[in-house]
């Protein structure tokens, strides 16, 4: 599995073969607060880099979830739809959102590594 990469919209992504797994970062969940609703893209649908690919809602507000890369949705995590509090518990592990079959793996190149993202998150929070 590839190194974890991060987007400016606070998604994380890992790549295994040509299948990317995408979720939202711990930092994102801390900003959102208690997550009480999650909506995921439909399996078989195609999503475009930086386009919306889902929604999360906290007790306070709704936020779009973006996809940092393009591809076909090959799997979604029903467990977080059934119990959205799992996203707060393990955002960068078992509470992944969806898996994409990537078209163009070079889309990964522009994303941040852990160190860059941590710095970005710290700056955008202040």
């Amino acid at each position: 599995m590839s190194e974890v990469k991060f987007s400016k919209e606070h998604e994380w992504i890992t790549l295994e073969g040509d299948v990317a797994t995408i979720g939202i970062t711990k930092h994102a969940t801390e900003m959102l607060g208690d997550i009480v609703f999650a909506e995921l893209p439909e399996k078989g649908s195609n999503v475009e880099k930086d386009g919306t690919a889902g929604v999360v809602e906290s007790t306070k507000a709704a936020s779009d979830v973006y996809t940092p890369v393009s591809g076909e949705v090959v799997d979604t995590n029903q467990a977080i739809v059934d119990d959205p509090s799992k996203i707060n518990e393990d955002p960068e592990g078992s509470a992944w959102f969806f898996k994409l079959k990537m078209k163009d793996q070079s889309e990964m190149d522009s994303l941040m590594n852990k160190e860059e993202y941590d710095k970005f998150a710290k700056e955008s929070a202040s």
Partner: protein, 367 residues
């Protein structure tokens, strides 16, 4: 304009509050535990709310003040006993609501608790209506602390002995720590609880004392989910200048004795609507599934005709599901009516339901 701070601001900070601006004040939206934990703690134990941003208006006067206030509020104030509180509204001639409020008859006159965003305008309106005959004081030297939840009576009584003898919607002056506190048994969470009016310089120590006894600070986020579960209106959402108390389904707050003769501001419209019914009415709404329908969500019938709009919507932690309130055309206001909510371009099924979503635990009769 510089953001205002309550006398508990430092205490909020040291308790890791996340702040938001609310009605010109820097207020805690939540603390480190988060809205759901704070909500549940209030329902099971005791939550402390800083509501010092709200207005505490003291109006001093005798029977002539009561007469003047009856020309303004739809209440039977002549028969209101001292230390008893009523929920009411400040309205315009069309019965549009400037503010909703709690008015308490006190020894020297009346104490009115006003919403933060409305209090300065309310003061102006009331000053114009009452003239200079009565002394009015929108007291900036006092903080207002609410303590809510089943353990609150025990905790507060251990600090202010005797508050356990108050009935719901009554209040009194109490002595504590060499000063006079005005305590009412009331609140806005659907739980038993109290609101304490205390001078600013004593507020922090008083709240620290409550925390020591086991109560916890709760932010505005949980205050909103608690009041929504309790089916209570929030000004600026369920209530505004374009809505009347009848439309807001708050007929119960209008004293029956005032409906025959009217004589209060907005009485004509109120009496008409009481007789003919309002064309739109506030209802409780439960979306099916987990979908949350926020404020401004459009409501449709099954023929694609818009029949209303959501005014508040969130996830109810104690209900463990999404809840909302909104206005619908009269013919759709019956409980169990199927409606559709348009969220992110799609229509989702929901049901009109009875309020409150969560059953109240008010203490009705101690004495």
């Amino acid at each position: 304009m510089e953001i205002k701070k309550t006398s508990l601001n430092k205490l909020h900070q040291s308790n890791n509050a996340k702040f938001v601006e609310f009605a010109g004040y820097e207020m805690p939206i939540q603390y480190s535990k988060g809205i759901i934990e704070e909500h549940k703690f209030t329902r099971s134990h005791s939550g402390i709310f800083d509501v010092s941003h709200m207005g505490q208006l003291f109006i001093y006067g005798d029977e002539s003040l009561t007469e003047e206030l009856e020309k303004i509020f739809p209440l039977d104030l002549k028969n209101l006993k001292q230390n008893c509180s009523k929920y009411s509204f400040l309205m315009n001639e069309d019965a549009g609501i400037y503010d909703d409020l709690i008015i308490t008859k006190i020894e020297e006159g009346y104490l009115i608790i006003l919403n933060a965003a409305c209090k300065d305008k309310d003061f102006e309106i009331l000053s114009n209506l009452l003239g200079s005959k009565f002394k009015m004081n929108l007291d900036k030297n006092r903080s207002l602390i609410a303590i809510q939840g089943p353990k609150s009576v025990e905790i507060l009584n251990s600090i202010i002995n005797g508050v356990d003898q108050l009935n719901f919607m009554t209040g009194n002056w109490f002595d504590s720590d060499n000063q006079k506190l005005f305590v009412t048994r009331s609140g806005y969470t659907g739980e038993d609880g109290f609101e304490i009016s205390i001078s600013n310089d004593k507020a922090e120590k008083f709240v620290e004392n409550l925390i020591e006894k086991g109560a916890q600070l709760i932010g505005l986020g949980a205050r909103d989910t608690l009041r929504l579960e309790a089916g209570l209106c929030l000004y600026g959402h369920e209530l505004d200048i374009n809505k009347t108390p009848v439309e807001a389904n708050l007929r119960w707050a209008i004293s029956k004795s005032r409906l025959s003769n009217g004589g209060f501001i907005g009485s004509k419209k109120i009496m008409n609507q009481m007789q003919d019914g309002a064309s739109q009415i506030r209802v409780g709404i439960k979306p099916e599934g987990r979908l949350i329908a926020r404020e401004k969500t459009k409501i449709f019938d099954d023929t694609d005709t818009q029949i209303g709009e959501i005014t508040s919507g969130t996830f109810g932690p104690s209900v463990n599901g999404p809840i909302a309130m909104g206005y619908v055309n009269k013919e759709f206001s019956k409980v169990d009516t199927k409606i559709l909510l348009e969220v992110r371009g799609k229509k989702h099924p929901a049901n009109v339901c009875a309020l409150p979503f969560y059953k109240k635990n008010y203490v009705k009769g101690v004495n």
